[in-house]
Structures are given as C-alpha cells and as structure tokens.
C-alpha cells in the first residue's frame, strides 16, 4: 500500500473531523437568536455554557433586517436557534433555510419558538388583510418588552437548551431561577419608581410598546403610524396632534430608527416631549443585558415625565 496515500487519507479525515466538530460536554452550546432580547434572555439562562449571537442589532428595526448570506454562516454553525415565533423575525426563514443546518429547522431539536405559551396581546379580530397595513396576524410580537413574559420565554429557551445539552439541564435551570429572582426584585423596584406616573397617557411612534405600557401602568393614547409599516397620512397626524393637545399627552416615545422629522413635528405640535428609547437590548449605549434595557427605559421615562 502506498504510504503517501495513507497519510493523505488520514489528513482528510482529521480535517473533516476538525471542520465538523461534534458537541462535546466541554464545548459551549452555540446559539443564534434572531433578536437581541432573545439573545439577552438566552445569555441569562445559559451564562458561560452558551455562546450566543443575535442576527439583528438592538438599534435596527426588527421588521427590516436584510437577508444577508453572512447571517446564514452564523446559523450554519448553530446548535440552537431562538425565534420570536409571532412573525417579527419572518426574514429569518430564508436564512435558516439557506444555512444548510438540519439541527435548527422548524420541528428539529435545535429550534426554539420563544412565544410558545406566551399570553399574546393585540390579536387582530374581524376581517384581516393588508388594508390594515403590515399586521401581525398572530398578535403583537413585542412580548419581550414585558418582564413578566420572561418566565415563559426563558422556560422555552431552557427546554431547547436542555434538548441539545441534556447533561447541563440542572445547571441551566438553577441559572434561570437565579435570573428570574433578580428580575423579580428589579421589577418590584421599577414598578415602585413608575407608580407615581400610573395612568399617564403616552403616544408611541410604532405600536411596539403595548406590553411595556400595560405592565407599568401607562396607557397608550395613540400611535404615529396608524397602520403598521405604512407612513402616516397628514390627516391622521393632524388628528393625533389635536388629540394629544386635548388630552395633554406629555410624551411621545419613538425608536432610534423612527422618522425623526415626523416624530419631532408631532411632539412639538402635540405639546409633548419626544423620548427616543431603545426598542431592544443593544439599542442604546450601556444597554447590554435584559435588566439594563428596563433600567435605562424606566430611568429615561421618569426623567421625561417629571
């Protein structure tokens, strides 16, 4: 037998096994979350047992993520993918399909729907079509902006992590509990801080803060975008500004990617302050964890409402 050929065969096998490393007990679980909040919650559960990436950044509009092949590359190596589940990350479907990774296909062990069993708000009723704009037929997908959704969302993530790394299940569960205890403490503090402003009516640019407002006792007076994804008509803006003046709405909350000119005009003519808040983890400087997101948001709200 030719020794050179034997060595070549060995080399090919070694390279092949290097290129496709198996998930061993020592290796971290490679997770790709479609959205930064899901990344943050996965990190909270997984700690140093997981390596998590997010396909979207916190300062991006989650509805408008570009389908780039480089994102497929991240999914190619993933053991687990965590998805929103209510259509907010619909752009992830061709990415997951193009990643050639059977472990993370819908229905596979490495696929997590974070919205499973989450009590969803804003489910459209009646006739449903795109005359209503770019609606989410399964309900409002921005559920991570309510801290009380974290138990169910982290339970879904934990289930997924336990499926791909069952030997770590016990440790992951205790980390989840630890995180939820910290979140409970922080939630009570945030609710106390915002208690003086309970019942305050605010306007948001896009209809993405319903969960947050409900949780912290604020009320939604209206939205700049009367139909999601459709630029507001002058008639709608005029009506909104009039309503804001009549009801003395003190605040208009917008996102970093909202149309700043329109937001400033509506705030000015409506007699309200304009507050730009991060829509997700990573959406502002210093907001690097799930707790940071609410610390920042609550502090900014209090300052704006005083």
């Amino acid at each position: 037998m030719n020794l050179r050929r034997i060595y070549l065969a060995c080399f090919i096998s070694v390279v092949a096994s290097w290129l496709e490393p198996a998930l061993s007990e020592a290796a971290n679980i490679r997770v790709v979350a479609t959205l930064p909040d899901l990344k943050a919650l996965t990190e909270a559960v997984g700690g140093d047992l997981v390596e998590v990436e997010s396909l979207a950044r916190g300062d991006q509009n989650a509805h408008d993520i570009e389908v780039r092949p480089s994102l497929m590359l991240r999914l190619r190596r993933a053991d687990l993918v965590v998805r929103n589940g209510l259509g907010l990350d619909f752009w992830a479907e061709p990415l997951i399909a193009g990643a050639h990774n059977p472990k993370i296909l819908p229905g596979a062990a490495g696929y997590v729907d974070a919205s499973r069993l989450v009590p969803v708000l804003g489910v459209p009723t009646g006739k449903l079509d795109r005359s209503l704009g770019d609606v989410h037929p399964e309900g409002d997908p921005h559920f991570t902006l309510d801290p009380l959704m974290a138990p169910q969302v982290t339970a879904n993530i934990l289930e997924g992590l336990a499926r791909v790394a069952p030997q770590q299940a016990g440790l992951l569960e205790s980390r989840r509990k630890e995180f939820l205890d910290r979140l409970q403490e922080a939630l009570e503090r945030w609710q106390k801080m915002l208690a003086p402003f309970k019942g305050t009516r605010v306007v948001t640019y896009h209809d993405n803060r319903l969960y947050f407002l409900r949780r912290f006792g604020l009320e939604l007076a209206g939205t700049v975008e009367d139909k999601p994804g459709i630029p507001p008509s002058p008639a709608h803006l005029a009506g909104l500004m009039r309503k804001m003046k009549e009801q003395k709405v003190p605040l208009l909350i917008a996102d970093p990617f909202s149309d700043r000119k329109v937001a400033e005009l509506v705030a000015k003519e409506g007699g309200a302050k304009l507050l730009i808040l991060p829509p997700a983890v990573g959406g502002a400087k210093g907001v690097v964890s799930y707790l940071d997101l609410f610390e920042y948001t609550v502090a900014a709200l209090i300052q704006a409402l005083r």
């Binding site: 096994s17 497929m72 069993l117 069952p166 990617f257």
Partner: protein
C-alpha cells in the same frame, strides 16, 4: 489491486470519523431520555400529592360556576403575579390559543406583475421591442400563484403556476403554465441540500429570479438573448453545499434535461445539462456588503452540438447604520457563450438544406446597474446593457434610467425609459419595420397578496 484498497481505506477512515462524531450525539440522546424520565417521575409524584390533598378536603357546598381563567394576564389595577409564580409550571388552558397563518399547512401567495410599453411604430412593426409582439400594449406579464411550505420534517416543496400574455407563432394569447414544481431535501449530511423537479437554475445574478423580483421593469438584454424570455428554467436535480468555512461560500451543482431552447435544447438526461455555481459574500463593516459569483453551464443544443456558458457576477449594497432600507446598490454580470453551430447550405440547388460545416460561435454580453434609494418609498437607477448574440452576428446596447415608487412593501410602481441600438443585421423584419434604434417607455405595476418570502440579497 491498489485502487480498490485505496477507496476502501478512505471509506473506513471516513466511517470511523463519522462514527466517532456520532458518539456524543448517541450519549446525548440517552441523557435526554434520562432527563425526561426524571421529569415525568417528578410530575407524577406532584400529581399524587395533589390527589391526596383533594381527597382529604371536605365536600364543597354548592357554588356558582367558577369563571374560567382569564385569557390574558391581570390588568394593571389588579393583583399581578410575581415572577416566581409565573415561573412555576402552569396549565396551558388559560393562555392564548394560537391562530393565524400556517393552519393550512402551507403558504399561498399571489404576485401580479403588469407591464406596459410605448415604442415607435417601426419597432412595433418589426416586433423588435423589449416585449416582442406586445409593443404599445399594457398587459399582465406574469401573474403567479405560489404554493410553498414544509412537506414533512425532511423536505419543503414549492409549486408555482403562471398566467401571462405571451406572443408565440405570431399570435398573442394568455398562457397558463406550470412554472415551478420542486421539492428540496433539507436534512442531508455535510451541509448539503438537494432540490429536484422543475426549478429555476441558479446561474448568475438574475436569470433565476421571478420577473417581478428583477431590479428593473425588464430583464437585461444579455439574459434575454442568452436564455430567452422564459429565463433559465429546467427540470432536474440541483445539489447545494455550504462548506464549513470561516467565510460564506455556496457551491451548486446541477444536472438537468437541457430544455431551455435558446441556450441548449437537447432535453434529455442522456446528454444532460450540467451547471455549477460558486457564490461568496463578505460584510464590509456594518453598512456594506458584497456578493461575488462564478457560474458555468455545459450542455447540448437541439442539434446535438456542444454549448457552454460561463458567467461572473457581483453585487454591492450600502445600508447606512440606522437606515431601514438600502441606500445604494451597484451590480453587474458578464456572460460568455461558446457553442458549436451547424452551417447550413444548399450546394446542389435541390431546395434541401444540408449541413455544410460546423463552426464555433462565441458571444459575450454584460450589464451593470446602479440604484439609489434616498427615501423608503422612492428609488431611482440606471442600467447599461451590451451584448452580442450567442448564435448570430451582431450586437446591441441599451441604456435605461428608471424610477420606482413603493407605497408599501406589497405594492410597487416603476417607470423607465430605454434607448437601444442594434447592429444592422437585425433591423429588418418581414413586415418591413425596423428595430435598429428603439426608444421605449416602460411601465410596471407589481402587487403581492398573501404570503411572500423576503427577497434574497
């Protein structure tokens, strides 16, 4: 014999590597089973405890029917559950039952692509406009019904029907056809996927795209001349591989009938059309990205002669940080054709043409376009085409500026002006018209109903 031993060695070694890489997976499954059993045991113990407590309670007095649990969490005015309470396992009946798309088990989408054009009468007479035979008309270029979804855990499928006004054999008619029908196996090893059926061949940047997905109202001239108006659609198999490299590289290999009559036409797996493509992609910071591709195809024409195509394409997009849409796109593609063509003649004057010789025709064509989208709803661009003809002498060029307006993601209008000049050989037709120089106004309206997948990069 050396060769069989060599292959046996590689197979054995590969099997060993594969088996060793499967070991963690097997032990992982065992651990998963153990964990599930443990959980079931705990649940049963908890249930037994509850039953004991219920049996120990006195019989309740008659009371009104309890309200069913609320479908949503309590209002801000009521007592709110704590995180710890929510973290305990709950019955799912109090939570929202999902409804919405997906309950039909597959998605349905409709795309309507309507086009119109105004062109000189001489060009109309020569049937030399962009939409040959349909000059100075407004018509449905393509109305497609897409049905797509997962077949089972292992495969997805897509079927597409097309309805279009077409021009064939001197007649306009609304045609119905099966445009696509294929399945893709998703769970093959080594990062591969296999598609089979009637599908668009992924050669180059644009030839496989649905017409409504093209960046301008009409396809570039090189694609029209090299693949025809039907684009590059074939029946066969296509294997896609995403090797585990630190950068993105997609490799495609196809085996098809060769049904496209403009580029090939053999139509048989006995002399199959073979296609290949390599596509790579790089992020240039957070704002920019570039995609580069190489494509090749070799097959036989209807006359049994060899036809070879080779292509190079590149696309750059700039999306500034904080922008909701792409600001600037620059893309282009070049295709080279090499085919053997029979030279026919009637040397003995009996009215019967015979093959006198076989020659090699080389053809080359390219296009480039740039588009700027300063606002979400408005975009403008310009495309330049230059192409020879793959099996005839002559060449043509065209310049097409265009404007696009998108009231939403599901509705789009485009207006373009196209100036084209062709070499003298193609300026005459039997009706006496002339398409040597054409100036066209092109109009396009496109709408999307139902499910519509995001467009690729």
């Amino acid at each position: 014999m050396r060769a069989p031993n060599w292959y046996l060695l590689i197979s054995l070694l590969s099997g060993l590597v594969w088996a060793s890489s499967s070991q963690p997976a097997l032990s992982g499954e065992l651990e998963a089973l153990k964990h599930e059993l443990e959980q079931m045991k705990q649940s049963m113990e908890a249930l037994q405890e509850r039953i004991k407590r219920l049996e120990a309670m006195p019989a309740p007095a008659a009371q009104s029917v309890a309200q069913p649990p609320a479908a949503s969490p309590p209002t801000p005015g009521g007592a709110q559950p704590s995180i710890a309470e929510l973290a305990r396992p709950r019955e799912p009946f109090s939570l929202y039952e999902r409804r919405g798309p997906g309950q039909l088990l597959f998605d349905i989408g409709i795309v309507g692509d309507l086009v119109g054009n105004v062109v000189q009468r001489s060009v109309e007479a020569a049937q030399g406009g962009t939409f040959a035979g349909r000059e100075n008309r407004f018509f449905p270029r393509e109305v497609e019904v897409n049905l797509f979804g997962r077949i089972d855990p292992y495969a997805e499928g897509r079927v597409r029907f097309e309805f279009a006004e077409e021009f064939e054999d001197g007649q306009r008619a609304t045609e119905t056809k099966l445009a696509e029908a294929h399945l893709t196996l998703l769970t093959l090893p080594f990062g591969t996927k296999l598609s089979m059926g009637q599908l668009p061949v992924r050669f180059g940047l644009l030839s496989h795209l649905h017409r409504e997905a093209l960046p301008q109202p009409d396809p570039p001239q090189v694609l029209l001349r090299f693949f025809g108006e039907e684009q590059f659609r074939e029946s066969g198999l296509e294997l896609a591989w995403l090797p585990p490299l630190p950068f993105y590289l997609e490799a495609l290999l196809g085996v098809f009938n060769g049904d496209n009559e403009v580029a090939f036409g053999r139509g048989s797996l006995k002399d199959p059309l073979l296609t290949g493509r390599l596509r790579t992609f790089f992020d240039l910071g957070e704002s920019g990205a570039i995609q580069v591709g190489l494509s090749g195809a070799t097959g036989e024409t209807g006359e049994g002669r060899r036809s070879i195509l080779a292509g190079f394409d590149a696309k750059y997009k700039l999306t500034p940080v904080g922008w909701r849409h792409t600001l600037f796109t620059l893309a282009g593609e070049a295709i080279y054709s090499n085919r053997r063509v029979d030279v026919l003649g009637d040397p003995d004057g009996d009215g019967v043409e015979t093959i006198l010789d076989t020659q090699t025709w080389e053809g080359f064509g390219w296009y480039a376009y740039g588009e700027i989208q300063p606002w979400k709803r408005w975009a403008a661009g310009v495309r330049y085409d230059w192409t020879q003809f793959p099996a005839d002498p002559g060449s043509e060029w065209a310049l097409e500026p265009y404007l696009a307006f998108m009231p939403s993601d599901f509705l789009r209008f485009r207006l373009g002006y196209k100036h084209a000049e062709r070499s003298r050989n193609l300026t005459r037709s039997q009706s006496g018209g002339s398409a040597g120089i054409s100036d066209e106004i092109l109009f396009q309206a496109t709408f999307f109903l139902g499910a519509h997948q995001p467009h690729p990069f």
